[in-house]
């Protein structure tokens, strides 16, 4: 299996995630699309790790997973806090912090 097959998959997944982050209004789905972007990057990291035969890329992928878990915990905590305060769960309407 040639390495070059994996890289377009990773690029496609990353681009889909970016489009979702821009287009979606529900913060939950925005977080899901962020996960997509992280996973696209992970696939490229693991593919390049296989290419060089060293474990650095895989360690990097593991760290990315840990950071994704942190991001999920904080993001979902924020969403639950927004919901508890009866604010709209919609990224377009939560514009109070705009300058």
């Amino acid at each position: 299996m040639s390495i070059e097959w994996f890289l377009p998959i990773s690029a496609i997944v990353f681009a889909i995630g970016l489009a979702g982050v821009i287009a979606k209004r529900n913060p939950l789905v925005v977080l899901l699309c962020l996960e997509l972007m992280l996973n696209g990057a992970n696939l490229a990291l693991v593919a390049f790790s296989r290419m060089w035969g060293s474990g650095d890329g895989q360690i990097f992928a593991l760290v990315v997973m840990a950071i994704a878990a942190c991001e999920v915990a904080i993001g979902l905590g924020l969403i639950v806090a927004i919901y508890r305060r009866e604010l709209p769960v919609d990224v377009d309407e939560l514009g109070e912090l705009q300058g």
């Binding site: 890289l7 889909i16 693991v46 878990a69 915990a73 009866e86």
Partner: protein, 211 residues
Amino acid sequence: MSYVIFFLAAIIAIAGALGVVMLRDPFFSVLSLVCHLIALALLFLLLRAELIAAVQVVVYAGAVMVLYVFVVAYIGDGSERLADRLRRGTVAQPLLRTGALLAGSALLAELLIALTGSGLKAVESAGAPYHKGPRAFGTPAFIGKLLLTRFLLAFEIASFLLLVAAVGAVVLAGRRGREDEEAPPQGAGAPALQGAAGGPPAGGELVEAAR
């Protein structure tokens, strides 16, 4: 054989990613992401990253997605606000969608041009030689040895970051009793919030159940 698995997993991964973006109900988006993650784990296996594939399935598709499902079930899909949204007339939405599609396809084109134009000969090969064995490339022994020797600092920082994130999530999502009573927030949400904080036990029970 590996080609069949590769194309199957790649198609499922891309379809899952498209499903996350296109499905309307967030719950189905989460399920679609689970499909995507499992297909991605298959691709990792093809790249001989055994530990990463296992972690992907157990931690990502297992634990993290359960967290998502809980929060989606707690919050709901927000469809009761659909009428409200239609009344306001969101003109920006089609524009936003076109912009997102443009940005996504521009990035994809750029990445593909970079990939095809890189001229890396190593990319076109099947990768470095692979020798079977208990400490072969990608096994838990291999990754564990790297994590505890060369990448010890990254390992410790990641664990500390996870600790901080867990504490932060509890602080953010935890019940705030005193704070709400002292300073009721101003604006449209204030009366409803005071009603919820002041008294109906049903709301409190719901919160307890959601925990």
